[in-house]
Symmetry: C2
Subunit: 151 residues, 2 copies
């Protein structure tokens, strides 16, 4: 598949997942919501690690694997937000600030991440571009962690 088509595929997936988030409440209990969002973060973190290893030269650059990780990050990073249901601040949650009271800030950080992961898909086909965009994407992750995630 030519690279433009691959990117179109990734964007198609993302649009689909974004729509899914508006469907209806999907968690029987708060614990399930915490588990769901942490699962999405675990997959994202693992694939960010794969890209970072290539960016740092700890693993050889594999354009196909990089694109696949970037696409997965882009899709899965749309998932956690609906799982921040009000009241789900316990049951293993690692919140240090209040995403419901600061909904606008929280949403802006989500939008920043979505923008960066979108660029990450495009950048993944070239090692120099990937290096830069892994940094920018990681910074978007960190901005939200710094404010909202308990270490």
């Amino acid at each position: 598949m030519p690279s433009k088509a691959r990117i179109a595929v990734a964007i198609g997936c993302t649009a689909a997942v974004l729509l899914a988030n508006t469907a209806f409440a999907q968690f029987r209990k708060n614990e399930d919501a915490v588990d769901y969002r942490q699962s999405a973060f675990t997959l994202m973190s693992n694939h960010m690690g794969r890209l970072a290893a290539m960016a740092k030269g700890e693993q050889p650059y594999d354009a196909e694997a990089a694109k696949q990780s970037a696409r997965l990050i882009h899709v899965v990073s749309q998932l956690p937000w609906e799982a921040f249901v009000p009241g789900s601040d316990k049951d293993g949650a690692r919140l240090k600030d209040d995403p419901w009271a600061k909904a606008d800030e929280f949403r802006k950080l989500q939008e920043r991440l979505a923008g960066e992961t979108d660029k990450l898909v495009e950048a993944s086909g070239d090692l120099d571009a990937l290096r830069k965009q892994v940094g920018a994407t990681g910074a978007a992750c960190k901005a939200c962690h710094d404010q909202f995630r308990k270490i």
Copy 2:
């Protein structure tokens, strides 16, 4: 996007993810592998629950949401298998049989699931087809759980 194009998008994503699995070892320690595969299963289970709720009439059928869940299941269900790294039978693992000693059986069950989730994407656009295919997909999940997963 017309439905054929949407299905093509989902298949494109899956092919991409399948390729990613062959790249290189991706887990620093066995605990990370267990966490990764359980995270993928958590997302799959949640979205199977969404589809089952529609199939049973517990939630109204929403063709878009159903397609999106089916596509996500299809993509994410490719992820866990590389995380069954030899030795990762502890650290919260819930194995009752040995997927490494029974690698052929384990692989066949993975292939069965991949076939059913592929059909699930197609079936998700029609409630009657979805009902049937949620059953077939759930049976593929169960076949593997019955043999390999500790309850």
